[in-house]
Symmetry: C2
Subunit: 147 residues, 2 copies
């Protein structure tokens, strides 16, 4: 029920010291629901933690990725973004607005999972698989939808 305690439990469970900075950063990535950049996380957490440094946000985000608490996504232009969702899903990246939209499709998931089950990839320890659609949003004011 208590979000804050929940977040702290996640940090602690992954073997990390629970600090105020880590707590607000993980909370931010979860609450912003927009695949934020480090700079955006930084701006967001400065509200509740004004003395936090940008370097800490960079380091902490990577620490969380290593521990599997969040995921990272690189855009078609090569910029890093962070994602609180850890389940299998694809991303739509808008080249003109820089927004990232999640999409879920059970069928597509299975096809890809099955493919890599069937075809053995040898000499590689797979970390993750990403499926990304890149394109321009036509009307930037409207949403993208997958029917």
């Amino acid at each position: 029920m208590n979000k804050y305690a929940d977040i702290q439990a996640k940090i602690s469970d992954s073997g990390l010291k629970v600090t105020h900075q880590r707590t607000v950063i993980l909370e931010a990535v979860h609450n912003m629901n927009s695949h934020p950049s480090v700079e955006q996380i930084y701006d967001y957490v400065k509200e509740s933690c004004p003395s936090i440094s940008l370097g800490t946000v960079y380091k902490t985000a990577e620490t969380f990725v290593e521990k599997g608490l969040i995921a990272k996504v690189s855009t078609h232009e090569g910029h890093m973004r962070y994602d609180p969702k850890l389940d299998n899903h694809g991303h739509i990246y808008c080249t003109n607005t820089a927004e990232i939209v999640d999409y879920y499709d059970e069928e597509l998931n299975e096809v890809i999972i099955n493919f890599f089950k069937k075809k053995k990839v040898s000499n590689l320890k797979i970390k993750n698989i990403t499926l990304q659609i890149n394109g321009d949003k036509i009307d930037p004011d409207k949403e993208i939808s997958i029917k």
Copy 2:
């Protein structure tokens, strides 16, 4: 037969002026067969064009992408790489060695193409779809293979 003339025809056909710099850069991306970074292209072309500037390589690579002469790939770490192959294929990115390996699978291609034919993505002009497997190469001296 003549590679050089071939390359120049491609540049010219896409509506660009044929310069020595553009010729050697496009030739480099084709010949290096390793999804090179700008810096790597720069080092390669300096042999045949010692006065070329790094800024020209950056600009030219993007120009080629816009004209559809090459493709760009961003790694899991958010670094840009260039690819002479324009057909549908996936990439394996090795987190530890930074190498990118192509893989082709007709079946997987079709499933993905069909998915986006079936499901209409609205308010988005799709530019491209990327499927990338990220992982660590276990033995860095051996190759990765997909059976």
